[in-house]
Symmetry: C2
Subunit: 621 residues, 2 copies
Amino acid sequence: MKISLAQIEIIAGQPKVNAKKMLEIVRQSRLEAVDLLLFPEMSIPGYLLGDTWEQTAFLRDCEYWGQKLVEASENICLLFGNVAIDWRKKNDDGRVRKYNALFAAQNGRLLSDGSFPYPFRIKTLQPNYREFDDDRHFFSLRKLAEEMSLKVNDLLQPVSLCINGKCFKLGCLLCEDGWSDDYGIKPIPTLHKNGPVDLFVNLSCSPFTLGKNNKRHRVFSRMAREIGVPLIYVNNVGIQNNGKTIYTFDGCSTAYGPGGETLLHCRPFEEQLCHTMLSELTQISPALPVTVPNDNGIDSIYSCLRFGIERFLRQTGLSKIVVGVSGGIDSAVAAAMYSHIIGPQNVLLINMPSRFNSQTTINLAQKLASNLGCRYLEIPIHESIELTVRQMEAASLPLSSFMKENVQARDRSSRILAAAAASIGGAFTCNANKSELTIGYCTLYGDESGFLAALADLWKHQVYALGHHLNQHVFTAEVIPAENFTLIPSAELSADQDVDAGKGDPLIYPYHDYLFRAFVERWQRATPEDLLGWYIEGSVEKNLGCEPDLIGEIFSTPADFIEDLEHWWKLYTGMAVAKRIQAPPVLAVSRRAFGFDHREAQNPAYFTHSYLNMKEKLLNP
Amino acid sequence: MKISLAQIEIIAGQPKVNAKKMLEIVRQSRLEAVDLLLFPEMSIPGYLLGDTWEQTAFLRDCEYWGQKLVEASENICLLFGNVAIDWRKKNDDGRVRKYNALFAAQNGRLLSDGSFPYPFRIKTLQPNYREFDDDRHFFSLRKLAEEMSLKVNDLLQPVSLCINGKCFKLGCLLCEDGWSDDYGIKPIPTLHKNGPVDLFVNLSCSPFTLGKNNKRHRVFSRMAREIGVPLIYVNNVGIQNNGKTIYTFDGCSTAYGPGGETLLHCRPFEEQLCHTMLSELTQISPALPVTVPNDNGIDSIYSCLRFGIERFLRQTGLSKIVVGVSGGIDSAVAAAMYSHIIGPQNVLLINMPSRFNSQTTINLAQKLASNLGCRYLEIPIHESIELTVRQMEAASLPLSSFMKENVQARDRSSRILAAAAASIGGAFTCNANKSELTIGYCTLYGDESGFLAALADLWKHQVYALGHHLNQHVFTAEVIPAENFTLIPSAELSADQDVDAGKGDPLIYPYHDYLFRAFVERWQRATPEDLLGWYIEGSVEKNLGCEPDLIGEIFSTPADFIEDLEHWWKLYTGMAVAKRIQAPPVLAVSRRAFGFDHREAQNPAYFTHSYLNMKEKLLNP
C-alpha cells in the first residue's frame, strides 16, 4: 500500500484555490499509483479564519469543494480535513452545526461503515488555549456524545478501509487528538481498543512554535511505541493569522514506526509530497530512522521569520518596503531580513535624525545600507519638530522634554515613513522587539506602528542572536556592522540618551528580558507575588533562567528590587496594554506571542494580598 | 424571607476592591435584617480579564477574598459568583482546574448537602460566542459530568437552604444557564424536576447590548411562567473590556413572579440594592407588575455611551480630552458627549484646516465650540503638509493627491492632536463611526487613532440620531448646529470633497449603512452571495431593512450593483481588517461591535463558487 503525505501550502479562506491544488495532486498521485493520499486538517477552508465560519455561503462553498474531492477519488483513497455541516442541527450559539472533520473518500464515495453517525469523523479534543478558539466554531465529539447520551469512547471508532483487496483499520485523528496528555479522553488508546488499529493518521494544521516539534517527536514517538502501531502526522505549510498575530506553519510531516522511530520527515516550510509504503512502516525492525532537525535554535527562528515575512508580503501584495534605520540593532536586523527576502533593490532605508542623534548611529545606518546595497536616505526631522513645538506654544500648549521625545517618534513614522511607503507603493516596518512591546517602551503612531512587527516576538537577546546568525550564516559577511552588537541600546530621543556617553535604554536586558519572559511566556504566568517569593528564597535567577548572581549585582536593597518589579508590572499590565491594542500584527515565534495568544484587558494593575503582605514584611521586618 | 439584590459596580481584575465593597454591603444588610443577599456572577474577580485567569497568584487572591465573604455570612445567607479552583485537577490546557462558580454561604460556612461534588455550583452553559471565551478558562458542568461518567442532568441539583426554620430549594443559575434555547441542556426545567425549586436565582455578568433586555424579559418571563416559580436576575454595573472592545454593564436586575410578571426592576447603569420578600414573589396574584424600560432606542444608546465613556475615563485616570473638530457631524457629536460628561472646561476642541477645508465647516466647528463653551483652537496644517511634500520630493518620493489626503489625516492626529493631548495631560478621541470602520474609510495613525473610539459601534444614521437626541433631550438646546444635520458628509481632504459644491464621501449611507450592517451584525452573516440572491429576487431592501425601492434608484444596471457590492466587500474583508487591527478600542453598543466580538483574519477577499455563477448568469444571460 503506497501512502503519500501531501504537505501542501494552504491559503486560509480560499477553498477554491486549495481544492484546485488538491485535485491536481489527486490526479498526479493516481498516475503514481498512490493508494492512500493524506491531506492536512482543514485543507479546504484553512483554519484560522476568525468568524468567517459564520458565513453560510462560505460553508456551502467548502462543502461544494469537498464534494469535488470526493468525486475525484476513483481508484485512490483520500483523507482530507474540511468543515462538515449538519444543516438540520444547531451549534450552541444557535448557528448551524459545524464540525472540524476528517473525510475519507474512495471511488467517489465517503467511507462509511455504520460505526459512526456521520460519513466523516469529528475532532474529539478541541483546543481553546493559545490562539485557538475551536469551541467557538465547532461542535466537538465530546458534545455530540453528550447529545446522543453516549460515551465519547464508544464513538471513537476506526475507519474501515480496503485497498487492493486487503482491509485495514485506520485510526483517524485531527491535530489536538494526538496531544491528549492533559485531557481525560485519550483518543489513540481508545481507538486502538475499539479496533485494533493498523495505522494512525493525524491530519494537522499546527503552527510553528519554537521547540514544538522536539516535543511532538517525544509525544508522538511514545504513543506509537506504546501502542505498537505506526502513526503518520501530516501538517500543512503556509501562514494563517488571527488579525493581531500571524502564524507560520512549518509542515515537518512525519511518519513514526511502531517502535516510535522517525521513519520519514518532510522538510520544514516547504511544500512536499512524501511517499512511503505501509509495509515499510509496520515492520518491527525497520530501516534506519531518519534524523529530525532540532527546532529550538536561532536557525529555526530565522527560518520561521524568513518564511513568515515572505509569505505575508506575498499575501498582502507588497513588494516594496521602507525601513526606518536608527543605527541600532533592531532596525539593522529588520533591514537585513527584508533585504535578504525581497532583494536590496526593493528596500528603502531611511535615517531620520533629530538634534539628539549621534554621528555614531548615523554612520552605522549608512554603513548598513551600503553593506546591504539598499537605497538610503537621510531625512532630518528637526524642522518639523520645531514647527510642531512652535505651533503648540503659540496655542499655549507647552511640551515637556518627554513629550518632545514622543513628538519625534511620531514624526518619523506617521509623517515620514508612512508618506515614503505610500510614495513607493509599499509599506513601512515596525522594528519593535518583544522586550519593548511588553512594557510599552515605544511610542504609539511612532515606532509602534507599521504594517508588520516581524521581530516583536523576539526578546532583545534573541534580536542580537538573529543579527549574528544573519551575518555568519545567511550573508556570510558582516552586513550588520560589528559596532551594532556592542553599542548601548538607546532611543536617542533626548540628551539623556547619548550613546557616545554610554547612556541608553532604562532596560537592563540580561535581567529584564527574563523577567518579562516569566510574565508573558511561562505556562503558569509569573506575577510579582511569585517574583518576590523567589527573591526571598534567593532563587530569582534560577527561576527566570538568567545569569546567576545578577539580582545582587543590580539591586542593592529589597526596596530597589521591589521598586523595579512594580514599575515594570504596572507598565506591562497597564499602559503597554493600551499600546498593544493599537500595535501592528506580530509574527509569532514563541509559545506565546502578543495578540490573540495573549488576550488581555485594559484594567488597573493589581497586587495580590499575599504580595502586599510579603512586601510589608520585607520592607518593615 | 427578605431578599436583597446587590446590583453593584464591579471593577474587573480588582478582587480586593470588589470584596471590600461586598463585605460592607453584607454588614449593612445584616443590620437591615436581609435574609438572602444576592451578588452578581464573578463579583469578586470580574469577568472579562483576558488571560489573567492564568496567574496562580491572582486565583489564590480570589479564593482568599471569597473565604472572607464566607466568614462574613453570620446570620445571613449570601450568594455570590467567584472563580472556584480545584488545585488537584487540571483544565484541558494543562493549567489548574477553574470553574465559573456560584457560592452559597450561611453562618460562616458554604452550604453543602452532599448533592453535588463541590461545596459550590458550577456554570453549566458556557458561552463561546460574541466576546465570550468561557471554555478557554473554565471547566463547565458538562465536562465535569463527562469526567465523572454522569449525566449533566443528574448534577443539576438545587441548593437546600433553611432560613428562620423554613427550608427552601434554590435553583442556582449563572448567566448563560438562563439562556438555554440553543442548547440541548435545559438547566431551569431540569433543576425543577430534580427539586422542585422554590426560587430561581440567576447571577449574571451580562453586558449591555441594544435590545437585549427586551429579549431577556421575554425569555425569562416565559421560563418563570412555564415552571410557575419566581426567578431573580442579578446583574452588575460597570465597564469591562477585552482590550479591543469595551463593554458596559447596565444592571437592570429584575425579579419575575411565577406568572412571569416583572415585579422588581433595578435602574440601568446605577449601583442599587433592591429589596423584596419571597412571599411577595410567590403569591399567584401579586401586586401590579412594574414596567421595564424599552432598551432598543437612541436613549439607550445615549445612556450606554455616557456611562461607558465616563467610566473608561475614570478607570484610565483621564480628566482632560482633546477632540479634533472638523465641522462635521461625527466630531460634533463626540465633542458634545465629552463636554457633557466631563464638563466643557475639560474639553479642548481643535480645528485643523488645510487648504481644502471650507469656511463653512470651520464656522460650524467654531459655532459648536461656542455653543458648548469649550476652549477652541484653530491650528492649520498646511505648513507641515508643505514641509512633508517638500522633503519627500527632495528625496525623489513624489506624493499623489490621494497620498496627500492621508498625509493630512496623519498630520492632524499624530502630530497635532497627540501633542496637544500630551500637553494638557489628557488624551485625544477617535471620532470614527461604524460605517467608516467597516470599510476602512479612515486613515491609520490619522482619524483612525485616539484613546477610544466611542462612536465606532454606531452606523452613520445612528450618529445623526444621537446628535438630535443630545440637542433635544440632553442639552435641550441646539448645541450641535442645525447645519450639521443637513451638510453633506465629507472628509474635505481634496478638491473633490468640496462641501460647498455638495461633494463628499463616496458612501450612500441610506443604503451602505444597511448593507454593512448585514455584513457585520446579522447572526447569519450576509455575504455577496446572499446579496446577489436578494438582488435577483428583488428583496434587497426588505432583507437589509432599508428604504424600499432604493436599489433601483441607486443602481441602473446589475453590473453597477455588483461593482459596488464587490468594492465594499473587498474593503471590508481586506484593507479595513488591516486597519482595524491597529484601531483604537471600540465602545460596544450593538449585538456585534468590532474587536473581540468580530474576530477576523487578514486574508484575501473571497467570492464563493455560487456567487460567481450567479454573477456570470446575470451579466451574460
